[in-house]
């Protein structure tokens, strides 16, 4: 009896092969097997014969929407930087997408990075992706040489041990608190849809930090982010970070210094998160790819919470609603205004 992921893998291969063979799409963005346990390689498949390489498992932590704009461009007929866009229909690209990834695609569509009609979403209801870091922490220090995935367990092998762990307990925090695991865009359905999850409090971790004192929060922030080595993996793994020149790299003006001191790294992370405000779908790619294990997702999650509470918007869920920072309501909350009657800071 094949596992759920084996079934999904097979379905993906069949569908991808079909899409490529009948020339519905020019490329398929998916995952192929990795060289280490708990890794997969994102890959762009352009030939039907290549589809056998595609895999699906619980380690697909990088958001494939990240590749979409560039791959779409790569299948267009070549043109110079000043040439206008061709007018006729352009080749399509298929991409695997879970709930949060599909919502990223929606944001990319809202922000004109991707045209809906050129994307074939191979929709996969997410069962939650496993955090490699959690598994490694569970086996603290013992090297993991192979991980076999069953439907609800992971069989972890080392040089001198084999142990079975519960899969859900190793699932990433963002997936555990996810309420929309099923894609909002579906062109080709892979596997069974995932039902929305009732999560009593998806912002529990954020609230735990909010409950601390200002000084405690600063201590947490300083400690968490000072291990940043400024490799920008978090930024580059994010499908929303598509600026040709990131503010952190810009010399004119030099918004953020280049050193590793707490201010420079802190400012980078605060502004990076802020730039995702109202756009982040909590796909967790940033956190998953950080070589230093920084929990930068807390900042975007905090913003997600505020955007939902203040403006009632969840990124990528309402394609027809403008993004929260590109719109307003005359009666938006403004308790933070210092001279507003009833402001939070009034008399403080």
């Amino acid at each position: 009896m094949p596992t759920i992921n084996e079934q999904l893998t097979e379905e993906i291969r069949v569908q991808a092969r079909k899409l490529l063979a009948d020339k519905t799409v020019a490329a398929v963005i998916g995952y192929t097997a990795g060289s280490l346990p708990m890794t997969v390689k994102p890959a762009v498949i352009r030939a039907a014969d290549d589809c056998g390489r595609l895999v699906w498992n619980s380690f697909c932590v990088l958001n494939l929407a990240n590749y979409l704009p560039e791959v779409l461009k790569s299948v267009e007929p070549p043109r110079g930087p000043r040439d206008p866009k061709p007018t006729g229909p352009l080749p399509k690209v298929a991409v695997m997408a879970t709930g949060c990834w599909s919502r990223n695609i929606v944001v990319q569509i809202q922000e004109h990075q991707v045209e809906r009609e050129r994307v074939v979403v191979m929709a996969i209801g997410s069962r939650g992706m496993v955090s490699r870091r959690k598994v490694e922490a569970h086996f603290s220090g013992r090297e993991i040489l192979a991980v076999t995935e069953l439907d609800h367990e992971l069989v972890v092998k080392g040089a001198d041990f084999t142990e079975t762990v519960n899969r859900w307990s190793m699932v990433r925090d963002n997936c555990q608190t996810c309420t929309h695991p099923d894609p909002v865009l579906v062109d080709v359905r892979i596997g069974a849809p995932a039902a929305d999850r009732k999560n009593p409090n998806p912002f529990k971790q954020v609230e735990m930090i909010e409950a601390r004192s200002t000084d405690e929060r600063w201590a947490w922030f300083s400690a968490e982010f000072s291990s940043c080595i400024r490799c920008y993996a978090c930024r580059n793994a994010c499908p929303l970070c598509y600026c040709p020149t990131c503010f952190v790299d810009d010399a004119r003006p030099q918004w953020v210094g280049k050193s590793l001191d707490a201010t420079d790294t802190g400012l980078f992370h605060v502004l990076r998160a802020y730039h995702c405000a109202g756009r982040c779908t909590d796909c967790g790619a940033c956190e998953s790819v950080c070589p230093m294990g920084i929990n930068m997702r807390m900042l975007t999650k905090k913003l997600n919470k505020d955007v939902l509470n203040l403006y009632g918007i969840e990124a990528g869920m309402q394609p027809d609603t403008p993004l929260p920072l590109t719109t307003y309501k005359p009666d938006d909350p403004q308790q933070f205004i210092v001279n507003e009657p009833g402001s939070a800071k009034e008399g403080a």
């Binding site: 930090i209 200002t214 600063w218 300083s222 918004w255 001191d261 400012l267 900042l299 307003y328 933070f336």
Partner: protein, 157 residues
């Protein structure tokens, strides 16, 4: 270590006076500040005004870089909602600031470092009041150290 250097050098001055950067919109709050002057409303001399066309011109980047440069406090002030000279600049600003304000609070920037206000061209007294309130608050917080950039002054001097 470097943060401490700046802190001690700042506090060692016996009469520490905060410097507060105030981004004022050209049409309302800057004019309100002028009216405060014409009306001789007295307020603490701690703000340094940067005139901007609209509160909607002030981005999170600008605000944070004022903190980074060493502002002990930052005030952004614009027209009252509905009165924006540019129709909607302050509405967009309000959303940006609401989120930024919460995020800064979340990472442990002391509440009261960063302020936002609406002051119209006719509210000279209101402007003076806002500056008083903001200055008092920043004074109780002491010199800013969080997200303040500091480089090794020993080697440079």
């Amino acid at each position: 270590m470097t943060n401490q250097t700046s802190e001690t050098s700042k506090t060692s001055q016996t009469n520490w006076e905060p410097k507060i950067i105030a981004f004022l919109c050209n049409w309302c709050s800057y004019a309100g500040a002028d009216l405060a002057g014409v009306s001789r409303f007295q307020y603490p001399p701690n703000i340094r005004i940067v005139r901007v066309p609209c509160s909607g011109r002030v981005s999170a980047n600008i605000l944070l870089s004022a903190l980074k440069s060493g502002a002990d406090g930052v005030l952004v002030s614009g027209c009252h909602p509905g009165d924006c000279h540019y129709i909607s600049g302050n509405y967009f600003a309000r959303r940006r600031f609401a989120l930024l304000n919460n995020l800064l609070d979340f990472v442990g920037i002391e509440p009261g470092r960063v302020h936002f206000s609406w002051v119209s061209a006719s509210e000279g007294e209101q402007f003076a009041e806002v500056v008083k309130k903001v200055t008092d608050k920043v004074k109780t917080l002491g010199p800013a150290t969080r997200l303040v950039k500091s480089i090794d002054t020993v080697q440079a001097a």
